[in-house]
Amino acid sequence: MKSLLASSALLMAFAAPAFAQGTDTYTPDPNAKPGGSITITYKDDVATLDPAIGYDWQNWSMIKSLFDGLMDYVPGTTDLRPGLAESYEISEDGVTYTFHLRPGVTFHNGREMTADDVVYSLSRVTNPETQSPGAGFFGMIEGYDAMLDGSATTLSGVTAVDPQTVQIKLSRPDATFLHVMALNFASVVPKETVEEFGPDFGRNPVGTGAYKLADWTLGQQVVFEKNADYWREGIPYLDQITFEIGQEPVVALLRLQNGEVDLPGDGIPPAKFQEVMGDPAQAERVIQGGQLQTGYITMNVTQPPFDNVQVRQAVNMAINKDRIVQIINGRAVPANQPLPPTMPGYTEGYEGYAFDPEGAKALLAEAGFADGFETELFVMNTDPNPRIAQAIQQDLAAIGITASIQALAQANVIEAGGAGTAPMIWSGGMAWIADFPDPANFYYPILGCAGAVEGGWNWSKYCNEDLDAQATQADSISDPARSDERLQMWSDIYTRVMEDAVWAPVFNEERYTMRSARMGGADNLYVDPVSIPVNYDYVYVTE
């Protein structure tokens, strides 16, 4: 039995090896002042605040502030740190995790959180009756299959050793497990409240988080107030956050300029971007950061002509990525591989396919399509995606490929992608932002055989069993000391994906958030990789 304290820097190594640091590297902001309240606007209704169900970028960070899981991230970074677990141990064989819970943590309803709540919460999220979109993340935990087929109602791999200790047994070593424990889906919820509200728990959330729900007026506003009993000392800073619902992004920006709003939740609208950046007073309040996102074109490898690797390579060479980046006001960097640059496992120095229409034409001729061919490009119908699709269409036309654009609602594009009826899809607005900062999250659902099934998110329908085997092997390395080896294996996997030219990666979006003049806190809190638009727990107001 190898025993590691949570403070071990090594444990963090596979999260971000380049920045391997101590466990909780966060140093409180010396300028932070407690008190005050802020207003954030959103266009759409808040869907649900049930951590087992909420899975859009709007409620994701709200839920993060209402609930906690065993693991957490250092604010503004992708580095894991313990959450409700004070420390943990991993067995020698990498399949048993023992978490020691923080004593004295209470739910918003006043009851103390115990190991039984962890068992209940993980069983609930994997129970098919909960209909959680995150259930699939827990597949590595022992007993998951029995939950799935309905033969069990408690996840057998999760046991309460004593009120302060939880043991989780995995069916296989999995290096991503601690990240999964930091997902919202793994949040700890109180059984009595979940049962009291039933399907309406998402409207009456009770967790252990830094904020608690104070008011929810349907269609108008959601108000969070500070949880004065929060277990992290001195956090959160703000007394209250008001989320105003139903505000057009353009209107939200006007109100920000008027001083009525502190953060436009939907970001700076594309039509206003240049105006904002051209005005120094406004531009200085804009914060830019990378995000774990890649925009790509999928090509269905099971259908001619995209079953021919040369055709796919030709498409890769035909796309003028710099021009597409200009279309979105330069709010992205051109991509040459599936992983975004800030993701561990990204292959530095890899060049991918350079923009070369002549070479692409030659390659196409070699593949037997000297006269080109006709195909369809599916795209989500909200700006800027149709404009990007038009640029792609023109690039393809330059090498003789006639692509007609099918601009549809998101759900329809996803359906066509899952059914395998779309020859090409521009992923913008739909895929793929990482659920957690690990290279595995970009492989299984969107490039692996598991996602290449009917309805899966692998829209290229690419299934390379060799790569799948290599991926499984890489993820079985849960020994933090060998994390570099694991990341190298992942880097090789993505390089092979690019050799097969399954996608044409186009760009990695950058995030731009704007704040009011009175808001304080480090810039990286405003482009937090896991809390969008901002890490609510750590920002503050200066007046």
Partner: protein, 306 residues
């Protein structure tokens, strides 16, 4: 009258049944699988099937439709797929703001439309008349999205007279009602003008003038009540037009009504909400038309309901 009402109510129920059928069928054949949306991108095929079964979406169309109607009989509009809340509750919470907005719009269109129409009719062929009719033409043709943003920019951003967006006070109501009402004001002014011009040519107006009544009295007491009849009968029909308009206007002004709810639901293909909002709109339109027909004989005794 009672027989007429009964017949109309039976018709209304049939129309609503037809609306539910058409909407349900269209959403059924739509190439978007709600289960996949609920299950999320990391779901296994087993999870997808299990959810499909729980929601009864593995059943044939007629059974699904039958279940929906059965729910309706019990005033159960189902649960939103994505928000996971009761659809009835979501609509109920958003109905009062929409009704308030429509009431505001009716006031705006009547005040604006009738005034413009009367003024134009009293000076037919003059520059005033032409100017007003051009204005009404612009009102009818201008897209509400543009009108809304222009008003918002002028009165909210530049002049700071009115709040940019939101809900709660009287001042919040002004711009959205105006935006929604401008279209109707355009129509009303044109109808009012032609109706008024028509009435002013009638013999009884000449008689009234010949009696030596003041111009003001002739217009307000004799001409107006007769000219206004066809216009008032239109208000019921307006409700149908509003149902389209509120989707845009509520979005622009952040007005928390059912128009916004409908727009969000359509974008996310949240079928139970789309069904619910469509049904509520259909009820409003059917009732509006019924009301317009019922009121007509009171305003114009020449009309009889049989």
């Amino acid at each position: 009258m009672a027989g007429y009402l009964l017949r109309r109510l039976i018709q209304a129920v049939l129309i609503l049944l037809g609306v539910t059928f058409v909407t349900f069928f269209l959403l059924y054949v739509l190439p978007a699988d709600p289960v996949r949306q609920i299950a999320g991108r990391s779901a296994t095929p087993e999870t997808v099937e299990s959810i499909r079964k729980q929601l009864g979406l593995d059943q044939p169309f007629w059974i699904q439709y039958g279940r929906y109607l059965w729910g309706l009989l019990h005033l159960d509009l189902g649960r939103s797929y994505l928000q996971r809340s009761e659809v009835a509750e979501l609509i109920w919470a958003r109905l009062p703001p929409s009704l308030l907005l429509m009431a505001g719009a009716i006031v705006c269109e009547l005040v604006l439309g009738l005034t413009m129409g009367i003024v134009a009719a009293l000076r037919p062929g003059t520059a005033t008349d032409n100017g007003l009719m051009i204005a009404s033409f612009v009102g009818v043709s201008a897209p509400q999205f543009v009108v809304g943003l222009l008003l918002l920019y002028l009165f909210g951003v530049k002049l700071h007279w009115l709040p940019i967006s939101g809900y709660g006070t009287f001042s919040h109501l002004i711009l959205p009602s105006l935006t929604l009402g401008i279209l109707g004001a355009g129509w009303y002014s044109r109808m009012m003008r032609s109706s008024m011009v028509e009435v002013l040519r009638q013999d009884f107006i000449r008689t009234a003038r010949a009696k030596g009544l003041t111009r003001r009295r002739v217009i307000l007491r004799h001409a107006l009540p007769n000219a206004i009849l066809p216009v008032v009968a239109m208000i019921g029909i307006d409700i149908g037009i509003f149902m389209g308009g509120i989707v845009v206007v509520e979005s622009v002004f952040g007005w928390p009504g059912i128009g916004q709810l409908a727009w969000q639901a359509i974008q996310r293909v949240d079928i139970p909400i789309i069904m619910g909002v469509t049904l509520v709109s259909a009820v409003a339109i059917v009732l509006g038309n019924l009301l317009a027909d019922l009121v007509a004989p009171f305003i114009d005794p020449r009309i009889r309901l049989r």
